[in-house]
Symmetry: C2
Subunit: 248 residues, 2 copies
DNA sequence: CGGCATTTTGATAACCATCAAGACGTGTGG
DNA sequence: CCACACGTCTTGATGGTTATCAAAATGCCG
């Protein structure tokens, strides 16, 4: 009943994925969770590790998923913001296939996998919402494969800046015209498959062309249509609205 | 009860994802389906299209998912073989965010989304198996992002050849030492973010080094340890065995 | 103020794309 | 059976994009 359990933000996000009735919300709100705070760059999960008994989502701060090649090159495969589930796939898989790391100082809520599974089973709308959330994450992965595989540096960076802008807005994290980009240029490079040096030059190109402004990690998009076109960005793959099919 | 409905192969694959009891299997086997055959390169689903009422999986042949940049460059984001679900995400999402195309002549079984959803709800083990299947697909997407983002041409191609070898074996599609690679070098390039010209040269390099043999689209791996090392391949991300966590 | 991470800039080289053209293979129709 | 057309594979030459190496400038935190 309490209107501000830590779970609120996560519930709101799930409610955007599927219709939750008041009982669903109450069940989620009452789900016991423990808060944990991590320093930037702390690992939440390591590749090869057995799945945890807990499952967590972000309360504040940012996190990312990452994999390494045998030679040690790093690729960031996703970036996560408040409300996002972090190790949700380990509800079902035995072994972690990638690393999850805090991007900034991070506060998460941990809930028991067992409790969440029971809830998903007992209340189909909740299971459905979590499932859909995972499907949308997969859609973002597909777009990232396209981004890294077939766009040049300028388009890649423009695209990821657009994606962040849209997702940040949906998460309520935009301040007037821009947003706080919580990544170094090296991390940005790791997310789009470029070196930090080339990210720096390309980013400066976008700034020089008047498409974005970028002061001390605060990014403002000055010409939305322009940057959208450079990046070939369309938000469809984020399935922000109408994400949920009507229940048959 | 009939032991050879078209659904058999799909059931076997799901059974590798989660434990299905005889009743689960029977329910899946009895699920009505209609067969459809498509020519190579026919579209099963187009980006932007509203979700279908049916959901399909492959009986024979190969298919792939694909996205295009605004400039028309193509990126293949996944390749699918017999037993794989093709438009499963549209159980829940309203709009297709990518294209699905036949790679070879393709036979699929179509089942009603409604029926499958009801089944997934009524029989948790089935819902669980389908869910896990999607989680593994997401894991493969993550590996592909790493592949295209951080490996050079030689490693990229070695890696995808390893992945196909392992998945083909799991799908029972290997003939003695090799497998039939159902892709042109141009399609291979679209899957790893390279041009067909560069795929050709790189492939020839792998052949010249005695790692693989490649005659008329039949690929044999001659030196498994060697090619695995070149590609930095480890099959962990495929979650082939022990994919399913024990039910708490 | 000093130390450290991050950003910035320059010079050079590697990798891969692009363009072009020929070879090979396969299916089709005369 | 041959001729032809078409897709795919192959090879060569060239250029552009991005990586690499190096070092200086900036910003940030203690």
């Amino acid at each position: 009943m309490s209107s501000s359990t830590p779970n609120e933000r996560m519930i709101e996000k799930l409610a955007r994925r599927a219709t939750l009735d008041p009982d669903d919300r109450a069940a989620l709100a009452e789900m016991p969770c423990t808060l944990r705070t991590l320093q930037a760059s702390a690992y939440l999960l390591r590749e090869g590790e057995p799945a945890r008994l807990n499952c967590s989502y972000i309360l504040s701060g940012f996190a990312f998923r990452q994999k390494l090649t045998a030679e040690g090159a790093r690729q960031i495969v996703s970036v996560h913001m408040p409300g996002d589930f972090l190790d949700f796939q380990h509800l079902f898989l035995r072994v972690a296939d990638h690393n999850v790391q805090a991007l900034t100082r991070l506060t998460i809520a941990e809930i028991s996998c067992e409790v969440l599974q029971e809830l998903a089973l007992a209340r189909p709308a909740i299971g459905r919402a979590i499932w859909i959330d995972g499907l949308i994450e997969a859609s973002i992965y597909r777009e990232w494969i396209l981004n890294v595989g077939r766009r040049d540096a300028r388009a890649r960076i423009a695209h990821i800046l657009c994606e962040f802008a849209v997702r940040m807005r949906a998460a309520g994290m935009v301040n007037d015209n821009g947003y706080e980009l919580p990544m170094t240029q090296e991390q940005l490079g790791d997310a789009v498959g470029l070196t930090s040096v080339h990210v720096n030059r390309t980013l400066k190109g976008l700034v020089a062309d008047g498409l974005v402004r970028f002061d001390r990690r605060n990014l403002s998009i000055l010409d939305w249509d322009g940057i959208r076109e450079v990046g070939g960005f369309s938000s469809m793959y984020l399935h922000l609205d109408q994400s949920s099919r009507p229940i048959p």
